[in-house]
Symmetry: C2
Amino acid sequence: MKAYKEMSKEELLTLKNELENEFSVIKSKNLKLDMSRGKPGADQLNISMEMMDILNSSTELKCEAGVDCRNYGILCGIDEAKELLAEMIEVPKDNVIIYGNSSLNVMYDTISRSFTHGVLGNTPWCKLDKVKFLCPVPGYDRHFAITEHFGIEMINIPMTENGPDMDMVEEYVNNDEAVKGIWCVPKYSNPQGTTYSDETVLRFANLKPAAKDFRIYWDNAYGVHHLYDDDQDYLIEILEACEKAGNPDMVYKFCSTSKISFPGSGVAAIAASKANIDEIQKQLSVQTIGHDKLNQLRHVRYYKNLDGIIAHMRKHADIIRPKFEVVLNTLKNELGGLDIGSWTSPKGGYFIAFDSLPGCAKAIVAKCKEAGITMTGAGATYPYGKDPQDTNIRIAPTFPTIDELAEAIKVFVLCVKLVSVDKLLEQK
Amino acid sequence: MKAYKEMSKEELLTLKNELENEFSVIKSKNLKLDMSRGKPGADQLNISMEMMDILNSSTELKCEAGVDCRNYGILCGIDEAKELLAEMIEVPKDNVIIYGNSSLNVMYDTISRSFTHGVLGNTPWCKLDKVKFLCPVPGYDRHFAITEHFGIEMINIPMTENGPDMDMVEEYVNNDEAVKGIWCVPKYSNPQGTTYSDETVLRFANLKPAAKDFRIYWDNAYGVHHLYDDDQDYLIEILEACEKAGNPDMVYKFCSTSKISFPGSGVAAIAASKANIDEIQKQLSVQTIGHDKLNQLRHVRYYKNLDGIIAHMRKHADIIRPKFEVVLNTLKNELGGLDIGSWTSPKGGYFIAFDSLPGCAKAIVAKCKEAGITMTGAGATYPYGKDPQDTNIRIAPTFPTIDELAEAIKVFVLCVKLVSVDKLLEQK
């Protein structure tokens, strides 16, 4: 394959003509395919169906503590649910609070609480002139939406293959008291699938924040979401690392079973130091009498323990691995050597990050739309929806069937080629 | 029966002696009974057990709109759940948002959102020097806990048999811009079991608030929770009343199925005008991807419609009516004519309000404790836990078995007598 950049204007024009013909054919098919959504496919949901039978009218509905899970009570979750999720995210049970079905909701509430009541005795953020958050980019749009909603200034931190640029993180966190947090998806990150290196995690744990109420928002959404049995990323456990570094209170860790059991009906949790947990519990006691304990019990009875979760995650992997591979193979076969894009090859998680030539991402997504393929909006992976280079596109391979996906990704690479040719022609 | 107030010192001393002997006998029984908790008893939970079988691994799990309820999506609740709850609380479906398991959580979030982002374009409360709430008293402690948590100044509004003292409500709401809300449990109120009269509701609907962002927090927790088939309270629907009065945006209505299905695993909702709902939906889209739709589906498939709910509530009534009657009969038989207390006789809800002689409630609750009977803490029904007259005690008859309850209420009346005698002797 000849790199597009090395082609002459004439070669590019000939190529453009070929590609446009190809595009016309595809457009006439009136496709309607979607690679935008980080949702499990129906086949993945089906593997959890036995969970629907786990509790029934003849089941014992008391938890181990003897409390009737149908009734009010047990603010922070039943012990066995704490144990299950604690084991999964490698923290002690007593450092966990179980919530409802959405870890995003837990994160929102965490920011909201800091805004209205402050963090461990520090000034509530609503009383401050300026609050800033560091945002590793590209990142998760719903994280950025929360901080934007609260008027928090977001600062882009470039992601490297080892995680966020830690020189920049240290510079900001250790010197600027207005910096109150950083959004992290530390394992199989959204959208790259990158896992933070040991050095990165240890540098996080050893931050010396200017702000006493600085917290790392560690969204461990894909902690057990491996694609391969024999080739998995490893992530240092952050709570313990922070404690060892003398910063026990510096991190909130979030997780859920949304992409383990059912996205709409999973169980979410927060893990943190005792001081943080005590504070959260105090506020939570005003907010609710307790979350859905029957659903907690359903999860515990179904998965039993971490081994149960791991075995279950293998079934998910068996379904989505081929989907990732179709995308990665097509990208490689169709774009390899053309020098018009690069992409990540994650070993887990839900996404692949694609980077186009500068200034092409929006046009590629628009071109896909024209052909009936929905991609995540270009820019969505950046705070305020602004990708400064206009290069990043998030590919979500899990929701379509494998046939749909194979079709969709072919259209995608065609659009990448077309838009890249146009961009290069502009520069001739 | 001779009223205690008419007894001579000698008569009171003789009586005190008899009562203390009785108390010694009871104390020696080492009872451990609880009339403090507004929780359904296990017998009530059992009537909903078929709900545990409604969804299973061979059930269709798509909602009417064709969306897979296991997956992400449908921020504001599935249509059929909106319909069910809308019918129950007598509002149009499109004015409803379905939440998770806790209406308290919805109320907390509503206050929190007003605090951080304001209401329909008005200044966020966190930017104001002073925010005030009106609190009909006695009332629900968890309401007061939310407003206290946000540093909102709470103003006591005495309850009458028709609802809050509306002269006071109008005086405050129509003249003080700092008054942003009022907590209401308009039907079978906690703790009195009072239902607001037509005049009260219409005066609410016709308020002319000084603050544009004043809202009535209408916690319709016991809307279908009647004790009797043939003698039910009626409440004017507030959303429609407000709209007719030209105040469509002035009310948030809250409800849940907590005391219909399972307290820990019900479905909660908010109802409001379109403008309010649009604003809430916008914020909710930042907070979560959606609440538990499987649990919504479970409720819809089980109850089907309002008739299903009404039939189900009859079963609850059959269980708790005798409990209310045991309490009310004992109060009447033991305290009637003594002039040392008064109490309400609700036709629904979960509580009976007892008023002792001034200055006696705390001592009565303490005396009960000494005999092994747990009552709701005296003062709990007032903001800041301060009952100015120290008279109000909330009786919760539903959770104990009927035998336990019969025993507990006997101890209670004995404690009322003892403490009242002491109080009257002080004054001799």
